[in-house]
């Protein structure tokens, strides 16, 4: 093990630790800063200078956010689409991957190519919009679920995994009289749990984070997702409030505990929270998923 070789050079060691500390700060501090700002009084935040700790601590924005019906409804839709979308996506991907993993399947090659083509080429924004519209999916909850039912990249991950399963298992089950569906449900699916777990995580995060479909395809208030709310708040901030910092500072003298700014921070924190919660699982599975992907190229 070359690892045992101590770095003789002290400056080198200091440099390595210094740079890694900077890396840690650069990636972690932004999240911490948002968290701190969400806990600070709005009027006071405008004076700036809040880095590591709140200056005037308050829970006010969290209370406001959790009492806000719009945000509450958005969280509900987001949870609902995640709970509906993930199992359906998983089932579709697994079924399709199983079919495409079978060498005996007629038209396997052209079908696979057909799916892969969609990874590299899309008609673009407007044609997608036209299709969604002519399918009457606009302002419909299912616009969140149906277009994403098959993610080709994930499907290929599952297919590759299935191709690696020992064929003897299926053969012996077939000898015992099991049909395709039974083999799929009883033998293939349980064996694929590691790769399916990876995809469950990816899919859940995708659903939780998505805003684009809600933003373009829906107008109904009940169909605004949490991230779409966040996009709207960000847009308002970018267009309206950006130049009026001075005015806000003047207003800040009045001691306002909550503003659209702290609401923005708070919703950001709330939207980040689930990612943090599943983070340990993500770490465990995503490297594996990435390596399978790397082999597939």
């Amino acid at each position: 093990m070359y690892m045992k070789n101590k770095i003789p050079n002290i400056t080198g060691k200091v440099f390595v630790y210094l740079m890694l500390t900077i890396l840690f700060v650069v990636t972690f501090f932004p999240f911490w800063n948002i968290f701190v700002l969400s806990l600070n009084e709005a009027g006071d935040s405008l004076r700036g200078g809040i880095m590591l700790w709140p200056r005037h601590f308050t829970f006010e924005s969290y209370i406001t956010v959790f009492h806000n019906e719009e945000i509450f409804a958005a969280a509900k839709v987001t949870i609902l689409r995640t709970l509906t979308g993930v199992p359906l996506t998983l089932l579709n991907i697994a079924l399709l991957a199983y079919g495409l993993s079978k060498k005996s399947m007629p038209g396997r090659k052209p079908l696979t190519l057909f799916f892969i083509f969609t990874m590299y080429f899309s008609g673009g924004l407007i044609p997608s919009y036209m299709v969604i519209k002519s399918l009457h999916l606009t302002d419909n909850f299912w616009v969140f679920i149906l277009p994403g039912l098959v993610n080709v990249f994930w499907m290929l991950l599952v297919r590759t995994y299935m191709e690696g399963l020992p064929p003897e298992l299926e053969e012996s089950a077939r000898l015992d009289g099991a049909n395709d569906l039974l083999i799929f449900l009883r033998i293939v699916l349980p064996l694929c749990i590691p790769v399916l777990a990876t995809i469950t995580l990816f899919s859940a995060i995708n659903h939780w984070n998505s805003w684009y479909d809600s933003y373009i395809y829906t107008n109904k208030k009940q169909l605004v997702t949490l991230s779409a709310v966040l996009v709207r708040i960000l847009n308002q901030y970018q267009t309206g409030n950006m130049l009026s910092d001075a005015q806000q500072l003047a207003a800040g003298a009045k001691r306002i505990p909550v503003s659209s700014e702290t609401i923005r921070m708070t919703v950001t924190v709330v939207a980040t929270l689930p990612i943090i919660i599943v983070y340990p699982f993500l770490q465990k599975y995503f490297i594996k998923g990435m390596m399978i992907g790397a082999i597939k190229g």
Partner: protein, 261 residues
């Protein structure tokens, strides 16, 4: 579906009118410039930083510290651009942490308006892209480094080569094939800039620098209802990006077979 067939067969054929309209206008040059410039910046910075991070992590012998840094380093990768943009906008605002830091260090006296002045925009995009992906991208290099035969380093240190020398003469050449492949693949995605970060970080003040093909097509299509024009613009991008990716994948495959295995 009746609407579908009638629109398919009874639409007026206009030839390449919308493409001509796009190519002859001023917008084409501006939008292509923004796409390529911000992409090239991202490509350069986003390519070098993960290699640097992987080498640093490999040199770190304190495992719990290494784990802490690595865990934090790919946190940004897993949050959406919506969350990331909210964070970036906050940090870069005139009373945000970055301006505070710059003023405390005496680098600037007044707040720099990073997101209101167009000249910063490409750098903001490149930095944001790198911030988000660097930890994740470093993993590939870490895997490549761990595949190097340790004996190479041992015999080098027996011969009296310092750590820096070993990195330069053994480590870097060993991960060079990985670097080349990833660089080639990134070039293939030069036009696929992504939509979210430009849409969310850009605003009307920086439009001249933040408008890329995707946001341009979005604005004309969804916001101005110029469906035909926006489709033409989008199709142009899809086609060119497709050709680029396919060509580059071919080249990468050739490299893979001749240099890696």
């Amino acid at each position: 579906m009746g609407n579908f067939w009638s629109s398919l067969f009874h639409s007026k054929f206009v030839g390449l009118r919308w493409f001509e309209f796009f190519f002859s206008g001023q917008d084409f040059i501006r939008v292509m410039r923004n796409t390529l410039a911000s992409s090239a910046l991202t490509l350069t910075i986003g390519f070098l930083v993960p290699i640097f991070i992987a080498i640093l992590l490999n040199e770190c012998k304190n495992l719990s510290f290494k784990k802490l840094v690595q865990t934090s380093s790919y946190l940004p990768y897993f949050v959406s651009w919506v969350i990331a943009s909210n964070i970036i906008v906050t940090l870069l605002s005139s009373n945000g942490a970055i301006n505070q830091l710059l003023m405390d260090l005496g680098i600037t006296r007044e707040s720099i308006l990073f997101l209101q002045e167009g000249k910063y925009f490409w750098w903001v995009i490149a930095a944001s892209n790198t911030w988000k992906d660097m930890g994740y991208n470093a993993i590939i290099y870490l895997a490549a480094i761990s595949a190097i035969n340790p004996e190479l380093f041992e015999s080098a240190s027996v011969d009296g080569a310092g750590r820096l020398r070993q990195i330069w003469n053994i480590l870097l050449p060993a991960i060079k094939p990985t670097m080349v492949i990833l660089l080639i693949l990134n070039v293939g995605n030069l036009l696929n800039t992504g939509f979210d970060q430009y849409f969310l970080l850009g605003n009307s003040m920086t439009r001249d620098f933040s408008d890329v093909i995707d946001t341009y097509s979005f604005r004309y299509g969804i916001q101005n209802n110029m469906y035909s024009y926006a489709t033409a613009v989008g199709l142009f991008k899809s086609a060119v990006a497709f050709i680029l990716v396919i060509t580059v994948n071919r080249i990468a495959k050739k490299f893979e077979t001749s240099h890696l295995f």
